[in-house]
């Protein structure tokens, strides 16, 4: 891995993180206001510039940092101190394996738009995700608060439960793509397939029927595995403990759950962790199900091959790279919007409903999906003879 590629990747990574996380507070407030026919945050200003309320995140940060940091009596001091960091770090480093673009050669250097192009990328995400449990769980316990304790029992049970569903749901996708590397998935999803291609194999239409070749769909995860997309999204949102899966923190039930004893920036870190995770979820879903950084029906290699004669290979690669990043960010934003829609429109599940959904609905469905996918793969192999 050339040094320059890491640099570029890290640069974009930092950019996204820095931009997205604070902006999320604004998004949350503005979008909820939109949905509830309010105006939303619009008071904070710098020299009269309100910038649609975009100043508010900055004000929030200042407020949190300057707030008193309390330490409850009887708390486990060390654990209480480190828990917020344990909570936010996994969310941050999850981004390392999510690709924003492919690999581009420009002016003799290789640019790979992913921080760590790991062979076991998705597994890495799951492993990191499982570490995230500690942050929430220890927080509730360390504060020596009964609500916090209830929150932490709930959060540990919920997160362990949904990790199971999380892993099993996407196995069908792994079976189809045959890889855990997210960049490979991105490349594979640039392919298309003929919706009615099977007719040729079965001899229902003549081999030279052109219309069959025209009707194609991109090989996106959501096209191949539509149900797992939604199940995966559900499981991820439950992992993130945001509404409607916010039973561990449920304000009206157990006050604030596991982070009840936190204030100031430590509290802020929990919030930030959740928001970052919203972005991570969107990025992961984009990479796995929504074709990653590419536009549908437009393979990147075709694009570069098309542009190179006109602008030269370097410029073509650069255009492709810029396009890729923008496409990726666009998809992510759309997904964030979608998640916010859910968060602001669904009531909170009851705790037993959360567990039932995980164990009795998602898990059986995903197991059935594995089975069906296997059958489907066998059928396709049989029909196409490959």
């Amino acid at each position: 891995m050339a040094t320059s590629t890491v640099f570029v990747a890290l640069f974009i990574f930092a950019l996204i993180m820095l931009v997205f996380a604070p902006v999320m507070t604004w998004v949350e407030r503005k979008q909820s206001a939109l949905m509830q026919d309010r105006i939303g945050a619009n008071r904070a200003e710098i020299f009269g510039f309100k910038a649609l309320g975009l100043i508010h995140p900055l004000a929030d940060v200042i407020k949190m940092i300057t707030k008193e940091d309390t330490m409850p009596a009887g708390a486990h001091r060390l654990v209480h101190l480190i828990s917020p960091f344990i909570a936010v770090t996994p969310a941050m480093i999850s981004f390392a394996v999510i690709p924003y673009g492919g690999t581009y050669e420009m002016w003799g250097a290789k640019f790979s738009l992913v921080v760590a192009d790991l062979d076991y990328g998705v597994l890495y995400l799951f492993a990191i995700g499982s570490i995230a449990t500690y942050g929430s769980m220890l927080a509730g316990w360390a504060g020596n608060n009964n609500w916090g304790m209830l929150g932490s029992i709930r959060v540990s049970a919920q997160m362990i439960s949904y990790e199971v569903a999380l892993g099993v749901t996407v196995i069908g996708l792994f079976m189809i793509f045959g890889t855990l590397r997210l960049t490979d998935m991105g490349v594979l999803q640039q392919d298309t397939f003929r919706v009615f291609g099977f007719m040729k194999y079965l001899g229902w239409v003549s081999p030279d029927a052109r219309w069959v070749d025209w009707i194609t769909l991109p090989m996106w995860g959501i096209v191949l595995q539509p149900l797992p997309f939604f199940m995966f999204l559900t499981a991820l949102m439950a992992e993130n403990k945001r509404a409607p899966f916010d039973t561990p923190e449920g304000e009206s039930e157990i006050v604030a759950g596991y982070f009840i004893e936190y204030s100031g920036m430590k509290f802020g870190l929990y919030m930030m962790g959740e928001w970052v995770e919203v972005v991570v979820i969107s990025g992961l879903l984009t990479a796995m199900f929504l074709g990653g950084w590419s536009l549908p029906w437009l393979a990147e290699s075709d694009l570069i091959a098309f542009l190179s004669p006109k602008f030269g290979a370097n410029i073509a690669n650069l255009i492709a790279m810029i396009l890729a990043v923008h496409v990726f960010i666009g998809k992510v934003v759309a997904l964030i919007f979608f998640q916010m829609l859910i968060r602001w429109s669904m009531p909170r599940f009851r705790y037993d409903q959360v567990m039932n959904l995980g164990w009795k609905i998602l898990l059986p469905l995903s197991l059935a999906n594995i089975f069906l996918t296997a059958v489907g793969i066998l059928v396709v192999q049989k029909v196409t003879g490959s």
Binding site: H76, V79, D119, Y120, L123, Y124, F126, A127, I128, G129, S130, I131, T133, Y134, M137, L138, W141, M149, S152, I153, S156, A157, M159, I160, E163, L180
Partner: protein, 174 residues
Amino acid sequence: MKLAGLLTPQFWVFWIFSSAAVAGAAGVVGNVRNPINSALSLVVSMLALAGLYVLLEAQFVGLIQVMVYAGAIVVLFLFVIMLLNLRGSGASGAELQPLTKLVGTGLVVLGTLFLVRVLATGRAPWPDVDPSYGTTRAIGEALYSDYVLSVQVAGVLLLAGILAAVVLAKKKVD
């Protein structure tokens, strides 16, 4: 030890992770005050071991180590400790006597020497391995071809474990 050896990242990775693993293990035993502390030490040890696995180019096992041990098993320990509300002293058992500590330490040293004597198989140099060594694909293909029976048995075992846990932990209805 050559100076060059000190400069390789592997050298540092090994020493950092192995001392963390050993220290974590010692923390599990030595933390008398609160079982939660023991559990947290255990996590440190587990994660450090995962690092050592990755150093040994067993990435898959390392990741599974994180997911299973750190992500599930220790969480389960914590969960149970919290559920039983064992905080504070008393429930955690007697304090360790100085003599016990001494004997324990001695036993660790003696036992380690003994085991090292057993495990010393000659210092073969590391062989070169295939790039696919330890990858998910390699392990997965081995598991589902040569060791498929073991996988089946493991599945049955897991099922039995689930049932056993449910039956044991369930409160009596009447």
